[in-house]
Symmetry: C2
């Protein structure tokens, strides 16, 4: 039997563009993992790794035009967004090069022998080493920043781990192109190109996470797909860390005083954030607690106006579009749910890019918050619905807000809108912040959750299902996922890695005898 | 039906000492977890936590005589060892109090807004917060240091997590006494005593890891028990981190040149380490690669002499003793395995403490290393056998050493003995160190793996089955297991926790705009 073809498809028309690959066979997965595994000694050189990351960024920037064109043809995300995403991707590669150069991620600790301790301390020297081959599962909605050249790959390479990426079927041609650039970058700096290998196919992805030489996995995608792979990783004879980002509702709480002060701006801001990228961001605000009453009504009115004006758009693939349409329909059919602007399919559009059958229009639902204060049919509204839709739950009291918040699953983000007075410490601001903190990995006061800065202090993760571990997939600390500590005891200087020698030849920050030195 | 009784048993005689509790019911587990969960706000105070840990250490020290007596009566580990273990336990509690006071574990990162970044950075401030209730599974072989007042409890409390400890059935009375001391310490410093709650029973342990309000688990024990709990933690609707230490062979490699130089010392040293605590240490050297030929023969002779002279002893419980006897018998029956000193039951002893039927005698097996270079029946020798036995594999070539090492599972420790010349950089020292590093969490050059210093640079963990995660259960970084990061975005100073305010009122070490400040 011939292997299944992998086609690049135009989501605007539903037409196939080209066959770009075939699905990887078991044998190919095995070969890929072994080939990647064999590059570990070469990747042990920190200097080369930093050069690899910077060279990859440079080559991606050079190829920007063709990459953006290819990615747009496969995802319909548009050249503006994709140009921004590529810039973010190359900035991320360079940021990890800086992390590698600095070396603080090694978390070096040296304790000289101390016979006076209970029990006595021998000479102990600890740092972190790479885990081994990392399996990366690319995301549908970020063909660059969370795919082949994205954060998982960048942080794994930074850590010294070779990467086997499972391409997302929504953008196989973009994946091929980016993998090729990364492999060229490896050649350019004198590393084996197999430090990054691309594979295709659903079954291939499952086999990958089960391969004995795969040491860890990174995933961005749905709860269903991510949980299946998480379960496979945990069920291995030797379980491996599985760092998955699976799903998030991204609740927003708007206080009565905030609505009073800026209902119109909040309604328009919410519309912008939930529609951005056709609502296909993992940080889309999918659930909003807004006050009942006049100020809340003004907010809903502003939201309606902004959402109504938005153009229909094309989602990443037909499956996703069908799930969106069905998900919206099911939610709208619940008792006491209203649809001031009905999201879904079928609205006519003048936009030339929405010519195919896959365009969807943005909208939102409203519901009395009290219906969500206890278990029931309305709990469906507390599940993520991927696409340009949000749920506005109107509350009558602080107690309702607290009751609903206590029922939410884990999230990537939680956002709080306060009045100026509340932001300065009056009223319930601190209390609400304390209620939101257990719910998310990132808590915003003001602003909107879409847009994730690639910064050292970033945390893109959160309680399950936002993430399957306590780690982040964005920001400097994402490198920690691919490392494990090792301690050398009473090891002669001649045999120690330079990072752990007393003379600190590499000039690294270290914690020596309990004190930070840098 | 009445709940099953929990008895304290004297392992020297097999006689029950007293009924100390009954097995916890489902309802009691639920109550315990909820009560512990309710103490989280009180535990949020870092100053109080540090005082709790120091007060607990003080009260345990005050109660030392009775604790050691009780623990000895239940474990037969002897007052000398147990006095040392208690000292280590209280030192560990105090060390975590220092970690809490210092606050570096919060890993604070502050990035001020920077519009020039791609994409722009909003103000981001990250630190770590406690996960919630931690389930601790006490170990059989360390009734103090890895049980109720041990490292898991100490590090979880340090992190701000309440603890529900599942007592080990080998020392329920000691567990009760220690739990009582910890709860008194909580009262003493003004914390609710339910920051630590003790439960009993196998089923209780399973229910505990499945409880919705349990946020993480720490375990020290067997591969079988630990894997079952790991699987239960991973199969939850909301999976939780499970930090288990399950088993370790702790390989030792002795080079030909090392044996040449110090065969007698190495044989005697190995005997001491493998017999220590009746071979019931997770770091017992259970597998030794020693050269064939004269020097190796001298080493085996010295080992024989030392092991023969050792007194039989009592193991922790009859099940363990039976497993030891059966495990040794099965291994000794393999082709070409020799038993210079046969371990097992049945040797007469003059030692008054070995009066019961449960005494065992130490011994060791030898086998040609080539029989372990490829899969086969002899692979049984590469599995941990708990108790006073080790396997000495005699090798003829460097290639045999490499082949056997490549077949080992993950370990807590790996030990290398080199000649003086090799330690100075001659010959294969560096190469062997590189081969041992992937195998273990702690790599020793010289010395023996038993004895785990409670030091900042310690790492007590390693590739599976040594540990189910990349974390450590001993040393300062053990606190990281019970924390998760959270980032506050554009949050007004009036609402920020003091740790994240610009004026740094607590004087903590922080990474601000990429630079470490302390």
């Amino acid at each position: 039997m011939a292997a299944a073809s992998v086609w690049s498809v135009d989501p605007r028309t539903g037409n196939p563009r080209a066959q770009v690959a075939v699905e990887s066979t078991s044998q190919e997965i095995d070969q890929a993992v072994r080939a990647a595994h064999a590059t570990r000694p070469a990747l042990a050189d920190r200097g080369l790794r930093a050069r690899l990351l910077r060279t990859a960024a440079e080559l991606l920037d050079e190829a920007a035009e063709r990459i953006v064109q290819e990615a747009d043809a496969e995802t319909a995300l548009g050249p503006v967004r994709l140009t921004g995403e590529l810039a973010r991707t190359t900035a991320q590669l360079r940021a990890f090069a800086d992390v590698v150069d600095e070396g603080a991620y090694l978390d070096i600790r040296i304790d000289h022998a101390d016979a006076g301790r209970t029990p006595p301390w021998p000479d102990l020297r600890r740092y972190k080493i790479p885990l081994g081959v990392v399996a990366v599962y690319a995301a549908s909605n970020f063909p660059l920043a969370f795919s082949v050249p994205g954060g998982d790959t960048a942080s794994a390479l930074a850590a010294g781990c070779p990467v086997v990426v499972k391409a997302h079927p929504d953008h196989p041609a973009t994946s091929q192109r980016c993998a090729s650039v990364l492999r060229t970058a490896a050649c350019r700096v004198g590393l084996p190109e197999d430090v990054v290998i691309l594979v295709h196919g659903f079954e291939a992805g499952v086999e990958l996470v089960r391969h004995a030489l795969v040491a860890a996995a990174g995933f961005t995608g749905s709860v269903r797909g991510g949980r299946a792979l998480f379960d496979a990783a945990a069920a291995r004879p030797v379980p491996i860390p599985f760092h998955g980002e699976l799903g998030s509702l991204n609740p927003v709480v708007i206080t009565a005083a905030a609505a009073e002060e800026q209902a119109e701006q909040l309604g328009a801001g919410l519309a912008g954030s939930m529609i951005l990228g056709k609502g296909q961001f993992c940080t889309k605000p999918g659930f909003v607690l807004a006050p009942a009453g006049d100020a809340g009504d003004r907010l809903v009115k502003a939201l309606s106006a902004a959402v109504s004006e938005s153009e229909p758009g094309v989602m990443l693939d037909p499956r996703m579009r069908d799930a969106f349409v069905a998900g919206v329909r099911e939610r709208a059919a619940l008792a006491d749910v209203e649809t001031p602007v009905a999201p879904g399919a079928g609205r006519e559009s003048s936009h030339p890019q929405a010519a195919g059958g896959q365009s969807v229009s943005a909208g939102f639902l409203t519901v009395p918050a009290r219906l969500l204060a206890a278990e029931g049919a309305h709990d469906l509204l507390l599940q993520e619905c991927f696409g340009p839709v949000t749920v506005v739950a109107r509350y009558d009291s602080d107690a309702e807000v607290t009751a609903v918040l206590s029922r939410l699953p884990g999230n990537l983000t939680a956002t709080l809108h306060l009045s100026d007075g509340e932001a300065a410490g009056e009223g319930r601001g601190a209390e609400l912040l304390a209620e939101l903190t257990p719910l998310a990995g990132r808590v915003l006061v003001g602003g909107w959750p879409t847009g994730v800065a690639v910064a050292p202090a970033q945390h893109h993760g959160g309680p399950y299902p936002a993430a399957t571990s306590t780690s982040t997939s964005v920001g400097a600390t994402a490198i920690e996922r691919w490392l494990r500590p090792v301690t050398y005891q009473t090891t002669p200087g001649a045999l120690l890695p330079p990072e752990l020698r007393d003379d600190n030849p590499l000039g690294l920050a270290r914690r020596v005898d309990g004190r930070l030195e840098h």
